[in-house]
Symmetry: C2
Subunit: 469 residues, 2 copies
């Protein structure tokens, strides 16, 4: 990164008098990282990335001041929530300023059905406030206890709760966003309805989210269950059918193929007999009898039920959603650093057949991990299969096999929006970037459609941001 432009940090400091800044290299480096190291490819590419300075705004006015100053001085700004992302989305590829929003963490208003919070508020803290009204956020990543709502919206897609409510991309799962633009005179915009899509899941490349209005769901008492199956296919069909139980309020339906649970779910190990493929579920405890009846109908065996296991045996167990989504990967990585993962979608209506065929072909090298969700009104599943990593070439081969067989791959070994997503530039987001970040200073290197409009996403060639070259 020797070619990096020299930024006028002294002038910036002067302009930002009164706003907390940090330039201790170790601390700046720490705030320039996320969970990119889940991917051996991103680890190699991004390990040296670091900002020049971290700014800690305490208010929206502070955000405006930072953006105004950086726009004038042509200093890149990369926003950061809690840094729990997995794709380097909060990593400042061109250096400059990391805008750490963790200090803007206030829950501003709670009403029936919705909450207003600052972007840096942690999901768990929002719920701690809303739960007094019997409500909670609809969706959260498995990093619920550590992730910020703004980071989730800017870099996430769904997770725990998606089996009930679909994904963040669905109209209605984000009610409103307040965004500050990166201009000489930054504007504060209020986006609702269709406009939310301009900045949701844009990695902060075209505006800084400062405030969010999110819908709330009833805060059920969630029964946590692990259901065991000797046959992987039966675990999958049970999970799919549980997802389709319209009258059972639920928050999580995951399948993890043996021996992953036995090898990596260390604290739950006493509940996990060898050889069992497991379904992880969170279901409204008021419907416990209905859920048990459903499980009996489908020949499932409860290995763990939080409402039946004595408190002393539950002590020390992590919440079950911390066995699911990307926490499955995290638990595997803690035991075996050579593990990595993929992110796939098995499209409805052939999801179970496709899962079975992939498991038959690659199951030993790529153990199955499914997350059932509602997607365009139907129940289907995402996959976050573990991968026994050998070489980058083999990883690309495994991805190609998935795509050939009909799975959609959201490549978690890429730091750009396009390569990690739908393999195309979001035209709405690109148009909004032209308007809201005309100099291209926000989170450089993440939107190929901006950086290199001529890049052929269909070529299979890896995009490399020139700032990283």
């Amino acid at each position: 990164m020797s070619d990096r432009p020299r930024y006028d940090l002294a002038a910036l400091r002067t302009r930002l008098d009164g706003i907390r800044l940090e330039d201790n290299p170790a601390l700046v480096r720490q705030k320039s990282r996320d969970f990119y190291w889940y991917s051996p490819i991103l680890k190699r590419q991004l390990d040296a990335v670091a900002a020049d300075l971290v700014a800690y705004p305490a208010s929206q006015d502070d955000v405006v001041r930072v953006l105004e100053a950086c726009a004038e001085l042509a200093i890149p700004v990369t926003p950061r929530g809690a840094g729990t992302g997995n794709y380097g989305q909060a990593m400042p590829l061109a250096g400059g300023v990391v805008l750490d929003l963790s200090g803007m963490d206030r829950v501003l208003d709670i009403a029936p059905g919705r909450v207003v919070a600052q972007a840096g508020a942690l999901l768990a803290d929002i719920d701690a406030a809303t739960r007094a009204t019997g409500q909670e956020l609809r969706l959260s990543p498995s990093t619920y206890r550590t992730a910020s709502i703004g980071g989730f919206i800017a870099g996430g897609s769904g997770g725990v709760g998606s089996i009930m409510w679909g994904g963040l991309r669905d109209l209605g799962n984000i009610l409103g966003l307040t965004v500050v633009t990166m201009e000489r005179q930054p504007r504060v915009l209020r986006l609702t309805g269709e406009e939310v899509g301009k900045v949701a899941h844009a990695y902060g490349t075209n505006g800084i989210i400062t405030e969010v209005t999110m819908p709330l769901a009833p805060a059920y008492g969630w029964l946590e269950a692990i259901i065991g199956f000797d046959d992987f296919g039966r675990a999958c069909s049970y999970a799919n059918a549980l997802g389709e139980q319209d009258a059972l309020a639920k928050k999580l339906v995951s399948v993890v193929a043996a021996p992953v649970p036995q090898l990596y779910f260390l604290r739950h190990r006493p509940f996990l007999p060898d050889g069992k493929h497991v379904v992880l579920a969170m279901v409204d405890v008021l419907a416990a009898d209905a859920f048990a009846a459903f499980t009996t109908r489908h020949g499932g065996e409860f290995l763990f039920r939080s409402d039946l296991v004595p408190a002393e045996r539950r002590a020390g167990l992590p919440p079950i959603y911390e066995l699911a989504w990307n926490h499955t990967t995290l638990r595997a990585l803690r035991v075996d650093p050579a593990i990595t993962y993929l992110q796939t979608l098995y499209p409805f209506p052939h999801q179970l057949d496709l899962v079975a065929r992939l498991h038959a072909r690659l199951g030993a090298e790529v153990p199955a991990h499914l997350e059932f969700v509602r997607f365009d009104g139907k129940v289907t599943c995402f996959g976050l299969p573990l991968v026994q990593f050998t070489t980058e070439e083999r990883l690309e081969e495994i991805i190609a096999i998935h795509e050939e067989m009909g799975a959609v791959v959201f490549n978690p070994h890429r730091y750009t929006l396009e390569e990690g997503g739908m393999k195309q530039t979001d035209a709405v987001q690109l148009a909004f970037k032209r308007e809201a970040d005309p100099a291209g200073l926000l989170n450089p290197g993440k939107m190929i459609g901006w950086e290199n409009p001529d890049f052929d996403l269909a070529s299979g060639r890896l995009y490399l941001f020139q700032g990283l070259a």
Copy 2:
């Protein structure tokens, strides 16, 4: 009904001292009827049906006393909630006692996620009590303001809310029932989980429901909307897609083909231009912008939005769910007494194609009316098409055409569980009747599997209860 056995009513009166009884013939006749007259066939068959006596229990103990006495005296008992059913399900085909549960109308307990109420409580009254906690019932018929919860469970299948929560048959939509058996020594049973299916939608043929535990949903502010389309097929595909919007909390998605809205929705007439096919919707008002964005995406035109129409123009309008489900039929009948209707299911995934083909073939004689629901985890639609009634033979022909073309018909011109339902006896309900009503005194004539086990449901022959002969 000259062959009807003579019951020892004098002995019964003595045994039921202290319980309110009614034998005024006009009042007894009134309490022996429901909305069976929606069907010209049921009207002809059931017009003369009347009980001998109406009993008004004030408590579960009273119910036990009535059943004990009637079991000993071999007097039939037909339970009645508010009498809002459509298939004669609360009509006493063999005379005897109508057990009117409307006096048992207390809401007993409200907690986050569930309510306990007596069977005679009206749905609207339950919600009036639960709404103080921000909650309401998940499901209701369009007779929400007049129907009882016990009658809904014993005779209904779903309705308003089914687009979110599926039907009453789904595990989890009824959490628990208390039931009194018809034995010499009646038992009070508590049913949960799988056991709920023993008596739900059994028309009170195998036990008297006295108390219910029902799940509650968030009481959103419901935006009422009418969306217009020039093309019927586009109205249907919009409605289906709206049903599949996982993140829009909704309660109603109906399609009514022109000219039905214009002819029969009299008070909404100013909002209904000639020729427009309409979608009726109830959507969480907090998601109004998201809903509007969705509607714009699909080329829908708002003809009415309760959040935008001034209060003075809304005054006097019925709630929009009283244009939907069986209220569509009711409004048509009020204008044109020669109208009747069908009840159909268009199975996923070919529902829109089937609807289009039926509409093309029969649209003028059988104007389309669709109710979108979640059914086994997918969005599809029921139909409650209006029928320009001419003869019973033609009505049967129309039903046959629907079945030939692939629709499932739940014939609303039949008073038996089997003929109005899945054309087969529910083995669990029949087994429970053997146990809970060994003498066959509860609501005689409604369960063919009990009355005439040899009757061939596949024969196409009409079952006629001998008490009606």
